[in-house]
Symmetry: C2
Subunit: 211 residues, 2 copies
């Protein structure tokens, strides 16, 4: 059975997956690139990078994925919905290479990009969005791509089978926090932690009932 | 030079060092004993326990410590100040075996217990309390014993030289959170993480300027 998976989702020690304010100049606000430096240093990101534990986790991001779901705030800076020309942060050939569902209260028509990515804009419940993404994924898994609002909404709705968080040793203090509303998530998931020489700690959540 | 140190301070994934509500029946609220099971399984706590990585960290709690500082909510349940007979959770022979400073806005006279513990009740700033504790510690280090309010106040005031947190894989959702107000703490501390086979992750914070 296809699964819904979260990968390479980076958080600070205090659980923020982005800083603030989010803007065109600073997509992660005051967090800057600090949440993702661990990934930039892997072979997954750059072929001169390291192939150790961080890379092993990072590489799983794409394997077996047939569609992605993301939130409006991952797709663009505040007010992108007012700009009919906005096509996401990732240029003409986005790294998704699959149907990509953008959850927004202001949907627009689908947008076909190069390399197999088509953006579909959806105003729907998490369960409805996931059903649409599974159908588009054609038997493969669906990646829940973030941000924190979307990840926690999907976990809270019981829709996530596997989640990989990467805890970076910084305290952001403010932003969008992944833990809010997830009290007792350990009842539903087997949780493992492994710290890496880079300083980050990989946390995996495997749904107990997952087949 | 003597140091101010935090040891064995257990937090949930979302940073709570206790659940809620705190009461005589449930000192850690809905967290129960879950934050401390890792420690109960060590030789530090019980001589039939394990002597692995968790124990190595746990044992450092007492070495070279000459005094402790704790908050009012660690010393007793809400309203303990109304009970002239309240002598702390730890019985006649408390495990501190040294001068122990209880920060409270309703101080009372000192209380000498068995085994070398004397409780001193102090309404003072963190810096003043630490000065008093260093004096009482007579050249040894001072342990900042918690709870979260006291730990974060002392860290925010720049008074903590070393901090050992133990992240337990549960999400509490509510309680007293250690991270609040500590944005950018990584500027002042070298941070290391090591996950243990028990499932917890030990986080150490070593002050960059510490001698
Ligand atoms: N740390 C990481 O690894 C990572 C990964 C991905 C993203 N990010 C970052 O996280 C930030 C975004 O996170 P975020 O928590 O602010 O927001 P988000 O999860 O990206 O998006 C939330 C927004 O999506 C829309 N939305 C969500 N669910 C919906 C639904 N069921 N129906 C219709 N619309 C829905 C709403 O926007 P509207 O009401 O405006 O339409 C909502 O405010 C960005 O800075 C991004 O770069 C970080
Ligand atoms: N997870 C762990 O490893 C760990 C370790 C220790 C404790 N704990 C738990 O943490 C909980 C307590 O934490 P908490 O954050 O609620 O409270 P806390 O830090 O123990 O105490 C805070 C209280 O201490 C008093 N206080 C603090 N600073 C003061 C100052 N400078 N001057 C005068 N009074 C001052 C104030 O009480 P008043 O205004 O009422 O006087 C304040 O509300 C308990 O459940 C305890 O068992 C957990």
């Amino acid at each position: 059975m296809p699964h819904a998976r979260v990968h390479n989702f980076s958080i600070s020690l205090d659980g923020f997956a982005t800083g603030e304010p989010q803007s065109l100049e600073a997509p992660f606000g005051h967090a800057g690139e600090r949440l993702h430096e661990w990934m930039f240093a892997t072979r997954f990101w750059d072929e001169s990078g390291s192939a150790g534990v961080d890379d092993s986790f990072a590489q799983r991001n794409t394997v077996g994925i047939g569609a992605e779901i993301m939130g409006a705030n991952k797709f663009g800076p505040p007010e992108w919905q007012d700009d009919p020309e906005w096509k996401g942060w990732w240029g003409d050939n986005p790294p998704f290479h699959s149907p990509t569902f953008v959850l927004t209260h202001r949907p627009r028509p689908p947008l076909a990009m190069e390399g197999g990515t088509t953006y579909h804009f959806l105003d729907a419940s998490p369960a409805e969005a996931l059903a649409a993404a599974f159908e588009a994924a054609d038997g493969q898994d669906v990646r829940i791509g973030g941000g924190a609002t979307v990840v926690r909404d999907f976990v809270a709705a019981g829709l996530v089978d596997f989640m990989h968080l990467v805890q970076v040793p910084i305290v952001l203090g403010r932003g969008s926090r992944v833990w809010d509303g997830l009290e007792a998530v350990e009842d539903d998931y087997g949780i493992e932690a492994v710290s890496a020489p880079s300083g980050v700690t990989h946390l995996t959540f495997t749904r107990k009932s997952a087949g």
